[in-house]
Amino acid sequence: MDIIKISGLYHRYPDGRPSLEGIDLTIARGSFVVLAGANGAGKSTLLKHLNGLLRPQEGTVRIAGVPVEQDLLHARRTVGMVFQDADSQIVGETVSDDAAFGPENLNWPAARIRESVDSALELVGLGALRDRSPHLLSGGEKRRLAIAGVLAMEPEVIVLDEPFANLDYDGVRQVLARIVALHASGRTIIVCVHDLEKVLAHAQRLIILQRGRIAVDGPPETVVLAAETYGIRLPAAIRLGGMVESWLR
């Protein structure tokens, strides 16, 4: 049932300041979770523990029941991670080469790679641009390519760090639409943001992080009311007493 189970997680960077202080968190299979927090709250640090880019200094992180440090490959295949800066995570010289990078690392046979790359590029709507050079793509297309690169590895959980940073309205809608479609196809989605406006309407659960601790956790419509206490802007619609509308409408 729970695909991710974190208990008593502590982390500090080498400069000594604690960045995560006792995180306990479980995430159900197939849920859509929004992780919010001000800059420096520890969101990215927490995400990097989900696929073993950082190992727990204290506490445990279990992915589908297996501790991350016990089987890194399992963690990385189960949890696909889309980083904040699309430019520095695209490694291929063409769009389809980039999508093939992960599956090639998994040493899959060529036919299976071709199949998963094709379906990943179709899913994010980049099928027609497969031979383009990535640096010629628009911001929204780059972000979608970063998502395709992760999708091609067929992960169960997709984690996105600030997926809407630096995108224009159209870019936000393109990326959001793909995220919502991935959730509808049964994947677990964790989106990390510092501004709730764009995703709140789709979230099933909202977790607010503050200075390395989970401050509030629960259904979005109640948790969001406390947002401003933790340095997150309250969406305007809620301030006016309404509901946040989806950006896809």
Binding site: F83, D87, V91, F101
Partner: protein, 248 residues
């Protein structure tokens, strides 16, 4: 900029990347020993092949325009510095016939090599070039050919990113009146230090992103499919090179 891979299904596109790389190396070596007739023939062959690959030769020459300017300078420098009989008897035009000839041959060789190089890059997927380099490195001991190939790929991928970053930084510096500084060293350090820092940050993020996508030792290799067409191409190239050597 047009210089980069253009997908297509022409004969030139279909030839095995390893054969294209070998042909390029062979041509480069042979063209060092050819004179005018051979160069003319090679130039014609390059232009015909570019046209056959659906890549307009005129378009390619325009893409090489700064390279052509450089070749012009080489010709001029050779013409002026080589002793011999003057082309025109005028004190302001000091070129010699021998110099002009030597310069033209040199420029012709460089042009032919560049055009064939362009032909290979325009018609071959970067991943295939990478795989071909990997294949050629395989017999050499102590070289981790897969890592070298990935590094080449990353270099190709990140040169435009680094160039864009440096252009952006340069604009930002100029917006804050860096041009008022007389000392060029100051300008270089002001551009260089942040650029280096950004490059390191990018490299750091890149390393995490590659790790997150399971980058490791055992990767799926390229699948080579060599048909009779590829052997025919190899034969044609060898024959052509022999012809070039024969007529020079």
């Amino acid at each position: 900029m047009i210089i980069g891979f253009h997908s297509g299904r022409t004969v030139v596109h279909r030839v095995d990347a390893r054969i294209k790389l070998a042909a390029l190396a062979l041509f480069s070596l042979v063209s060092l020993r050819t004179g005018f007739p051979g160069l003319g023939l090679a130039l014609a062959a390059a232009l015909v092949l570019l046209a056959a690959a659906r890549c307009s030769p005129l378009h390619c020459l325009r893409g090489l325009k700064w390279y052509l300017v450089l070749l012009g300078c080489i010709v001029a420098a050779r013409a002026v510095t080589t002793p011999g009989e003057p082309v025109v008897a005028h004190p302001w035009l000091p070129g010699t016939r021998q110099g002009l000839e030597a310069g033209l041959v040199l420029a012709g060789r460089l042009l032919v090599i560049a055009l064939f190089g362009l032909l290979v890059t325009v018609t071959t997927r970067p991943s295939h070039i990478r795989a071909a380099v990997e294949w050629y490195l395989r017999p050499i001991p102590f070289i981790p050919q897969q890592q070298v190939a990935t590094m080449i790929g990353l270099l190709v991928r990140f040169i435009p990113v680094i160039l864009a970053q440096s252009a952006e930084l340069d604009d930002a510096l100029r917006a804050r009146a860096i041009e008022q500084r007389r000392n060029p060293l100051r300008r270089i350090t002001h551009l260089g230090m942040p650029l280096l820092r950004r490059t390191f940050v990018t490299a750091d993020r890149l390393a995490s992103a590659m790790e997150a996508r399971c980058y490791g030792m055992e990767r799926t290799g390229h699948q080579w499919r060599t048909g009779t067409g590829d052997w025919a191409a190899l034969g044609l190239v060898t024959g052509f090179c022999a012809l070039l050597l024969a007529i020079s």
